[in-house]
């Protein structure tokens, strides 16, 4: 086990995660594992039409199942406040997965929308009864086919953080006269997060006080949202989520299961547990939008980009959803003379889309990084060399400074470790028995952000430190790294620090998303520790204990502990914090182009007869700023790469184009990578701090997945000579 020794910095060390023993022994309690006296179980009834009105619900057979307590529908459910339109001025509105007021309306907006819930003494009874609820509908015309709707897409409005379009020069004119061009269409399907833990809620009302154990990535905002929907003061709502079994964006918002569980608990007056089935996870939680993209590149014969056009179409829903920054990579990666990006979207009668690991960037990088590889082929230039010839000094689209960019160094390091110089330039030129062997490369890129979190830190006379912050832990290791940071800042051993998190009763934090939680919380922890250090110095001067340990100083001063707070949870404090946060984000956005980046190198083997693809080797070199903990950070990066392998080769929601119903809502139908699909993955990080971020952290949660699908598509092209522009790259696409 790795442990600190005196005088050594903890930041940068591969410390074992503090929750390791709890998780390996089965001791960690997740949201569906809290026992309450009189606990009941709920099951959802999904709509079977894509758009319409409920004309009747027959619940008699369901109610007659032994153990059933109630069947709630729009006819008898308690009234709920409808969700408000999302606005940054009110954070509680941002986490509403949809605009539907569940079980308070007869309207159906997508196939799978929950239209009733059964509450029973056991989950068996609830599920059996749910299957017996008979719903009659008036069907209304529905628009559910993304491909058919693509021509009707409208331009995204955009906002200061995410512009819907961007322009430099005249890319279309430059493209028309460029001596070498690539102009291609790329498509990606709907992806589902499929965290191993299905979404679960345990809801308990005591009078007007609500306690909710929920598998959420957003404790603070969910609490605000529940207070708004159920018409109770925020102070009466407590959301707990110390352990969340993976999220990847799928648990960022409040989806129907959470709201309906709380509603059912209010209606029955008993604690309710609602554990989504894997089918519910697909049908009642948002997913990553499908996309259709065009990338057109023009270059001179020396490989200098003169034109870069990247456009995208994605889907949202009539009842919610969000635009995706699919073309963002095209604004940052290449020093093209002329650039045009434009994002548009369709609006369907569908479950709203939502963020999934590197929203926009994950699918946008597939198209852009495939197209660059195609251009390299047209030019007869090595794809790494082509990228280096177009590596910008300033942010290409607007000339902003990079806070830090070491993509050249990442490529050099990755190429060396991988052995890129051994690649033969010709496609389909390496064979090993029945396997065609190819190598591919692509750039990873994800913007870095820092928001603000409220934190309190207590330094006690017994030498212990307590960090309190309502951040969330879905496996990233944040509790461990914040303990490292606090221990370093205060000069105490790692074991002396206790971190309290995952509870809305703690100082309010940001949601876990956008790869910004670690840097955001670190900024506040450092500020609080700075305050404590200054107070400690004052006490030391006063007591003549300069240069002594915190315990000696506090003991001499007869002070049992000292506290420092950053931010405030009062109403005024929260508003001030929010204003500070928005101001900082906008200022940062205006000043810097700030991102984590990296280079993926992979080798694939493709069966010449069957088209089976095996990824056989992987090296990725990243510039993620300072690495706080190699063990947890590298694991996040590897996990991103493996999810990218799934995206490249397996993952696809199969959607019935007539109804919009997902036809493979299970882990047997929706394939995610398993051990035997994954090669050894070599990770290297440059470990150079970004000068504008707390401790130089740029975030590791999302950058890993970006570029992965392109690297594999490029390697498959190198192996076989076939260029596949439609994900996932299944064997049928390689044998036809």
């Amino acid at each position: 086990m790795t442990r600190t020794v005196d005088g050594e910095h903890l930041v940068g060390q591969p410390i074992d995660r503090i929750d390791g023993p709890a998780k390996t022994t089965g001791g960690a309690r997740f949201s569906a594992e809290h026992a309450y006296p009189g606990l009941t179980h709920a099951a959802l009834v999904p709509a079977t039409v894509s758009r319409g009105r409920i004309t009747a619900i027959d619940t008699a057979a369901a109610a007659a199942v032994p153990g059933v307590i109630t069947v709630l529908t729009h006819g008898n459910a308690p009234k709920l406040n409808p969700p408000k339109r999302p606005t940054p001025a009110n954070l509680s509105t941002l986490v509403s997965g949809t605009q539907v007021n569940y079980l308070n309306t007869d309207e159906v907006h997508w196939d799978g929308q929950p239209v009733a819930v059964v509450v029973a003494e056991t989950s068996h009874a609830a599920r059996e009864a749910a299957a017996l609820v008979h719903v009659s509908y008036e069907r209304l015309p529905a628009v559910v086919d993304f491909a058919a709707e693509e021509p009707n897409a409208v331009a995204q409005k955009g906002n200061p953080v995410m512009p819907g379009s961007a322009k430099k020069g005249d890319a279309d004119a430059a493209l028309a006269v460029a001596p070498v061009t690539v102009d291609a269409r790329y498509t990606t399907p709907q992806h589902h997060h499929n965290a191993l833990e299905p979404h679960a809620t345990t809801a308990v009302w005591q009078g007007d006080e609500l306690t909710v154990h929920d598998s959420t990535q957003s404790i603070t905002w969910l609490r605000k949202h529940l207070a708004l929907r159920f018409g109770v003061p925020e102070a009466k709502v407590r959301v707990l989520a110390p352990f969340v079994g993976g999220g990847f964006g799928g648990k960022g918002f409040a989806w129907p299961g959470t709201i309906i569980a709380v509603l059912a608990a209010r209606a029955t007056g008993r604690p309710v547990r609602l554990l989504l089935t894997r089918e519910d996870v697909h049908r009642a939680v948002g997913a990553r939008t499908p996309s259709a993209q065009r990338v057109a590149l023009g270059a001179d014969t020396g490989g200098r980009l003169t034109a870069l056009v990247h456009t995208s179409v994605t889907r949202t829903s009539r009842v919610g959803g969000q635009p995706e920054q699919v073309t963002a990579p095209a604004q940052h990666l290449y020093d093209a003379t002329n650039i045009r990006t434009a994002q548009s979207q369709t609006t369907l009668d569908w479950m709203p889309n939502t963020s999934m690991r590197a929203p926009g960037d994950a699918i946008g990088s597939f198209a852009l990084e495939s197209a660059i590889d195609e251009l390299a082929g047209e030019l007869g230039i090595d794809p790494v060399e082509l990228r280096m010839r177009n590596e910008p000094e300033r942010n290409p689209i607007d000339g902003k400074r990079f806070s830090h960019r070491m993509l050249r160094e990442a490529y050099a390091l990755g190429a060396r470790r991988f052995g890129w110089e051994n690649r033969s330039p010709e496609p389909r030129s390496t064979r090993d028995g029945r396997w065609l062997v190819g190598m591919g490369v692509a750039t990873a890129y994800h913007p870095a952000m820092q928001f603000t979190a409220n934190v309190t830190v207590r330094l006690a006379a017994d030498g212990t430190v307590t960090v309190r912050c309502g951040f969330q832990e879905m496996g990233m290791g944040n509790a461990t790294v914040q303990a490292q940071i606090a221990a370093d800042a205060l000069g105490v051993p790692f074991e002396a620090v206790r971190v309290e998190y995952g509870d809305s009763a703690l100082p309010a934090s940001v949601m876990a998303g956008g790869s910004m939680q670690t840097s955001t919380v670190a900024g506040s922890v450092l500020a609080a520790c700075g305050k404590l250090t200054r107070r400690l110095s004052t006490l030391a001067r006063r007591t003549g204990m300069q240069g002594r340990t915190p315990t000696e100083i506090l003991t001499a001063a007869r002070v049992p502990f000292i506290d420092a707070a950053v931010g405030s949870d009062t109403r005024l404090g929260a508003l001030a914090g929010q204003a500070r946060m928005l101001a900082k984000v906008v200022r940062d956005q205006r000043t810097w182009a700030k991102a984590a980046c990296g280079a993926h190198f992979c080798e694939v083997r493709v069966d010449a007869d069957t088209g089976e693809v095996r990824v056989s080797r992987w090296t990725a070199a990243f510039d993620v700023g300072r690495v706080i903990n190699r063990k947890t950070a590298f694991s996040q990066l590897r996990g991103g790469i493996v999810m990218g392998i799934g995206m490249a080769l397996f993952e696809e929601a199969l959607v019935d184009r007539r109804t919009g119903r997902i036809m493979n809502p299970s882990l047997s139908g929706y394939h995610v990578p398993v051990h035997a699909d994954v090669p050894p993955i070599d990770i290297a990080c440059l470990d150079e701090p970004d000068p504008t971020m707390p401790l130089g952290i740029l975030g590791v949660g999302e950058v890993g997945i970006t570029g992965v699908a392109a690297a594999i598509a490029n390697a498959i092209h190198h192996a076989t000579g076939s260029r596949i522009r439609d994900l996932p790259i299944t064997p049928d696409k390689l044998v036809t």
Binding site: A22, T25, H193, N194, L196, G639, H675
Partner: protein, 153 residues
Amino acid sequence: MRLNVTVNGEPKQADDVWEGESLLYVLRERLGLPGSKNACEQGECGSCTVYLDGVPVCSCLVAAGQAEGHDVRTVEGLADGDTLDPVQQSFVDAGAVQCGFCTPGLVVAAHDLLHRVPDPSDEEIREALAGNLCRCTGYEKILDAVRNAAATS
């Protein structure tokens, strides 16, 4: 029906067990052992892996009645008091744990592999654990954990 089953060495009883109930449900909901996870309920993900008479099974696919009179060992039964089993310790040391939801099933599956094959090759490890899905770690460190546990035991 009443179910009699030995769990982690102790005789246990559960009453009013429904005929369609899974062993996983009995463990989690009736015997207070939620270490085995419920993630797909169709034997695809391996999160609910337990030993049944020394053989690893997906407990979501075993009817509770099939366990009548038999011996079950769950992830809660691997450690010796506060001392982790070498496989558990190896998972912690290698950094093979992230969100922790797949971990109990993987620990049991790896424990079984090392019992059968004390010094497995990488291919044997990948194949043996291919029925245990993990969405967080990227699998690499899980392999390291099994290799390390093999080397130290």
